[in-house]
Subunit: 407 residues, 2 copies
């Protein structure tokens, strides 16, 4: 169950140091033994923060806190623990967040609303913040250092089988800026403990409102365009912090085009790594939808295909089962024209005009299905809306991981 | 893969003959060998018909035909074949339906719009109606007889592991009327070939408009309240035929209350049998949602729980994993109050006030999870809307059935 995913990258990437960002990790013994499970990130004064949080209506206490703190637009610290999600823990959960935030603000000498908190792990168990996190914070503050992204990415893992990181650079007003990010996530909720968390740091100077706009768009096309099992965590959190250490001139939207592309690339890279670590995944699947009534419709259709257990099991069986893609398009509820629908797999057109193409030869498609990266293209034929989503297949491994008892 | 479901009933029930209804089955060799795969049902002149059809936007040619024919409100014949869904077959699919309808109308001497057609099986393969169904119809017409519901139920099976039937009686204006129904379905779409089909027959005299109203309500609370894998067939069809042979007085809505209950009971029984034959199912799961903002909201929340792969795999693992139920409620998108949410399994209250109940003892719940019938109760705590839905667990069997190659 903890063997590394066959879709994992060769190694953790080399990520650049980001001016104004220092990290430290420690084993707090919240649930795991013999590994770090607590991460403290210190951000330079004046750092702008933006984010995206779960839409779950049963969101965790840390998510409630972050939603409120994000309105301030500034951050000095991010504290993340793994092993316990502090979700569905009632008033005790809120108190645990308050203790963590107060201890962090004291250790770093910053305002409480500049402290952001995430927890990932078991749902419904009280988080013993005072006896674990609060005790460790002073030592963590003393251990803060630049770099060591791999240890930071490792400390936030739950059922992940590999740490996830990505980076990019861009120019703002002629000045080069760096972006580095880490993430974790394996099932939308793994044996009660996945959740998708992502933290992206840049030394660019970007005002909070612009940073939020770029973050929302990047998340929509990356983290919000992936699905392992259609389930939504109570704790999903994406935070993007811009320290300004690069000293670029105050940018306007136009100056940030390159930065926006780089930010989206980092988010997409991290999102793809989450899919490549999808529970039980043996195939990475890209679903490109075109010709829909709108971009929103295209995305809904793409996700209907990506979330169909029948499509996902067929891919696991290396079966070019296009009939199930027809079914999934039909159930998406978005405008579609059965007789205009075109489906291609691995670059081979399979259907056109509402039926299979004449003399369709499945041989090259069957070969493509045997690979690790599956490409599905669907043209709805009713408009110009398009979207791409990513998922993995549904295998016995998923059942093994999620059908086993919690303990 | 064809071993009978562990949740199957002891035996096919004894169903009453229904005045005005005669059936015949035959092996047409459409796909299967050594079993009947074609069913003809003859209905007495003046029979009222009502129905519910798939909402899929890639519906099959037979569904398109039935949608149109239902506007007439009268039926003389129903023709059903298994092995080929005649779905996504373009113009050829429409032609196949036209040939089948014409041949049936000729064999029984009725109008074409009184003929209803269903096909279930592989998607995307042309249905050779002329060389199979059309050839067999004259012989079928001569073989028509009352009863033999078990053979009728058997002829429409695809990946089903047992034939499905149910019956009930009711009184209309003092006169006893009978209801008998058959159904098939195993996955929403099994290896490209499930689909849910149900045909209910009664000797009651009920005008088409009233029959349609009762049918729509019964379907909403039965066939539309079950899910195996959240996937929607291109061919789902429910037809309810009332021959009037019982000779009851012309009824108004008030006189039909008992009949409505009986009709719903038959539909629910058939719907439950479909779940009990769910692909790979080892547990039958009832999810009762109360306290939602509306009945519609309650149903959406119930289906979000029933369709969650994480909830379904936990049940397969006999894990009373209530945290995943919290997650599913949160993702349903309907009004919910985390801190008012109450969850019970097997009659034992697990959460209250947004957290697990004090001194929660999982022992009796764990025992309940080891049984074949799992009962989950969720109170949302925001209103008075309620709904009950049914599903099965997600097991290795589902992956085996659906991950295997089509051929």
């Amino acid at each position: 169950m903890n063997t590394v995913s066959p879709l994992a990258p060769e190694r953790f990437p080399d990520l650049p140091e980001i001016g104004g960002v220092r990290v430290a990790t420690v084993e707090a013994g919240i649930r795991y033994k013999g590994r770090d499970d607590l991460l403290l990130v210190e951000l330079a004064p004046g750092t702008a923060i933006a984010g995206a949080l779960t839409r779950s209506l049963t969101a965790s206490a840390p998510v409630d806190w972050c939603r409120e703190a994000l309105t301030g637009g500034r951050a000095r610290a991010i504290v993340v623990n793994s092993g316990n999600a502090n979700a569905f823990t009632g008033r005790a959960g809120k108190t645990a967040v308050e203790h963590t935030v107060a201890a962090t603000a004291a250790a770093l000498g910053c305002a409480e609303r500049e402290v952001f908190v995430s927890s990932t792990g078991v749902i419904g168990e009280p988080l013993p913040a005072e006896s674990t996190i609060v005790q460790k914070l002073p030592g963590l503050a003393r251990a803060l250092a630049s770099g060591s992204w791999d240890r930071a990415a490792g400390a936030i893992m739950t059922t992940d089988t590999f740490p996830k990181g990505a980076s990019a650079t861009a120019k703002i007003g002629g000045r080069t800026v760096r972006i580095a990010g880490i993430a974790k996530g394996s099932g939308m909720i793994a044996p009660d403990m996945a959740t998708m968390l992502a933290y992206v740091f840049t030394d660019a100077a970007v005002p909070p409102d612009l940073l939020q706009r770029l973050t929302s768009r990047a998340v929509e096309r990356s983290f919000n365009a992936i699905t392992v099992d259609s389930d939504t965590s109570t704790s999903d959190t994406v935070l993007v912090a811009a320290t300004g250490a690069a000293g670029n001139p105050e940018p306007d939207a136009a100056m940030l085009r390159g930065f926006a592309r780089a930010l989206e690339a980092v988010c997409r890279d991290l999102a793809h790594q989450i899919i490549r670590d999808g529970e039980g995944a043996s195939k990475f699947v890209e679903i490109a939808v075109t010709g829909a009534a709108s971009a929103r419709a295209a995305k809904r259709i793409g996700l209907a295909i990506a979330n169909s257990p029948l499509v996902k099991t067929a891919i696991a069986g290396e079966d070019a089962n296009w009939g199930r893609i027809v079914m999934a398009v039909g159930k998406a509820g978005e405008k579609a024209d059965r007789d205009a629908l075109r489906i291609g797999i691995g670059g081979v057109e399979i259907t056109r005009g509402g039926q299979v193409v004449p003399d369709y030869d499945e041989t090259p498609v069957a070969r493509h299905m045997q690979g690790q990266d599956i490409r599905i293209a669907v043209d709805i034929g009713v408009g110009r809306g398009k979207a791409t989503v990513w998922t993995c297949d549904l295998t016995h491994g998923y059942i093994d991981i999620n059908g086993s008892y919690r303990s």
